[in-house]
């Protein structure tokens, strides 16, 4: 937009100066530059947010790791930072995060993918026009409400099936979290499938393929990278989800991969500490930054993976 074109040299004699009316107005020029500078700072501000996040988390974690060796943090099998006999094994919180995320993804990925294929390849215009906004609404429900639902509705139902299920458990939280993630997976995958050009579908139909054959053998493979990044977004939602777990999974640290047990996740631990009354600067206060840094690194990894997948497998139609 700001590029200026070069003018062809003209055989006419060049003027010795530029007429007043055509000269660049200095005042106008300066005003434009100032506005551009302001807008640029707004855009660059987002970079400062990232830097600030990294700075705050690293700074507070630094203090933490001066007291707690990294090896303890990574390999200790207990997480009891608020006890006298303090242990700082992040593995305990990670196990809760991974277990609940696994349950959620077992719900969200199959259902989300099926819904995406159905909406993109099978459903008529009307169904799609109703279903897509509905999915959006489903994704817009505050997660605290989902947490309430898991605790007061789903868990009692699950308890009628498994009477031994405790009132707080990772299973119920994970299942509801899965349903919360369905819209993200479904809507992004559907976008990727709809971006597959019609000519590929026509090629498939012209060979006598059915809808399902076209969907599974032509459209889905063509949309792989988009679908993969939808899954990755789903994963990072699951890993970062907080309130459902804080409400429905209990907040007691528990090194387990059994979803029918209660457990704390990285996120719900942060909530638990924030709800308490820890003095600023204490080691307990710093644990939440170390936990937060772990979380940030995990989501950063998934984000980069998604970015790389999109770049590496960008569809060439």
């Amino acid at each position: 937009m700001t590029a200026s074109a070069s003018h062809p040299s003209q055989p006419l004699p060049l003027g010795s100066g530029i007429s007043d009316r055509l000269s660049k107005k200095a005042s106008r020029h300066v005003k434009e530059r100032i506005i551009e500078g302001l807008l640029f700072s707004a855009a660059a501000f987002s970079v400062f947010v990232t830097i600030a996040i990294v700075y705050v988390l690293v700074k507070e974690s630094w203090v933490f790791f001066e007291t707690v060796p990294l090896s303890d943090f990574l390999f200790d099998t207990q997480w009891t930072p608020l006890f006298d006999d303090a242990h700082y094994g992040i593995m305990v919180l990670l196990s809760g995060t991974l277990t609940s995320s696994a349950v959620a993804l077992l719900v969200a990925i199959p259902l989300g993918t099926i819904i995406a294929i159905y909406l993109s390849e099978f459903a008529g215009f009307k169904v799609r026009e109703i279903a897509k906004p509905f999915l959006e609404l489903l994704g817009g429900v505050p997660t605290i409400v989902y947490g309430y639902f898991a605790l007061t509705f789903l868990t009692p139902i699950l308890q009628t099936i498994y009477p031994d299920l405790p009132g707080f458990n990772l299973l119920s939280a994970g299942l509801v979290m899965g349903i919360m993630i369905i819209p993200y997976v479904a809507s992004l995958s559907e976008d990727a499938m709809r971006a597959v050009p019609m000519s590929l579908r026509e090629g498939s139909y012209a060979m006598g393929a059915t809808r399902l054959q076209t969907a599974l053998w032509v459209v889905t493979p063509a949309a792989t990278s988009g679908i993969a990044s939808a899954y990755i977004l789903g994963i990072s939602r699951a890993v970062g989800e907080t309130m459902i777990l804080a409400v429905a999974a209990g907040m007691q640290p528990n090194l387990t991969f059994n979803p029918t047990e209660p457990g704390a996740t990285i996120t719900s631990y942060i909530v638990q500490v924030a709800l308490g009354d820890l003095p600023h600067g204490s080691i307990g206060y710093q644990t939440i930054f170390a936990a937060g840094l772990t979380l940030l690194l995990m989501t950063l990894f998934f984000n980069l993976l998604g970015y790389w997948l999109r770049k590496r497998f960008r569809e060439v139609y």
Binding site: F125, L200, Y205, A206, M207, G208, V218
Partner: protein, 261 residues
């Protein structure tokens, strides 16, 4: 249709076909014969309905809402069935009448899988049978020599002309009765165009061909019969030489000699 048809069998017949895109009357009582093992070309200015007619043959219009076959039909011989009858399964029609599109549209799969696709759709899974059929389809499309040692590569890595021949191989693999070509060379350079044209003339040994083209020289070079369409109507149909040298209608003559307008 008093065109010279001695020694030729009828493969299909369009009879009084009416077709609508929503409220737009795109084909108006169109009739024409398609002769077995011949190349039939459809010519006419853009928007005249030639592609629309072509896409009726394999029921591509069924994919989109709002399209309507409003009368008449396309009778396939020797079955003597109307392809457009509501009871006829479009998928069966497409298995028997294959299509090659304007722009090459190889699937994002290997060369081998692109050709094998039309066989897999029919439930063929036997590896050696697939290998044989893929090889003979690629040979039929004059592509085997160029790709026999790179069958695992992506179809999209081929040049434009090769991609189009890959699509022809794909259409050929399942032994269709008719292959429909929708302006198959409009996206190709002259050399690739020549090779596709040569291929089409060879293919009529095996299969009946219906081709839409906006290039009159092409129609003259490769077709045995030509139909000239204008505004959704079949203005003239006949043996290609006759249509081009001695058109019966003034409108056809004007179009062919470039005085159209």
């Amino acid at each position: 249709m008093e065109a010279g048809v001695e020694g030729t069998l009828l493969k299909a017949e369009v009879r009084d076909l009416d077709f609508f895109y929503g409220a737009f009357h795109a084909l108006k009582r169109v009739s024409m014969p398609i002769y077995d093992h011949k190349v039939t070309a459809l010519i006419g200015p853009s928007g005249c309905g030639k592609s629309t007619l072509l896409r009726c043959f394999n029921r591509m219009h069924d994919l989109y809402p709002g399209n309507r076959y409003a009368g008449g039909g396309i009778v396939l011989h020797p079955d003597d069935t109307n392809l457009l009858a509501p009871g006829v399964d479009p998928i069966e029609v497409r298995m028997r009448i294959s299509m090659v599109f304007q722009k090459p549209n190889p699937f994002p799969k290997s060369i081998y899988e692109n050709v094998a696709y039309s066989l897999r759709v029919r439930g063929m899974t036997n590896k050696s049978e697939l290998d044989d059929r893929v090889e003979s389809a690629l040979k039929g499309a004059a592509l085997w020599g160029e790709v026999s040692n790179r069958l695992k590569e992506l179809g999209a890595n081929l040049s434009g002309g090769q991609q189009q021949r890959l699509c022809i191989a794909r259409a050929l693999a399942s032994d269709p009765e008719i292959i429909l070509f929708d302006e198959p060379t409009s996206a190709l350079d002259p050399i690739a165009t020549a090779s596709i044209e040569e291929l089409i003339t060879e293919l009529k040994e095996k299969v009946t061909i219906l081709i839409v083209t906006h290039n009159m020289q092409q129609a003259a070079r490769i077709s045995d019969f030509t139909g000239y369409m204008y505004l959704g109507e079949m203005v003239e149909f006949g043996v290609t030489d006759q249509v081009f040298i001695k058109p019966q209608k003034k409108a056809t003559e004007d179009y062919i000699t470039g005085r159209f307008g």
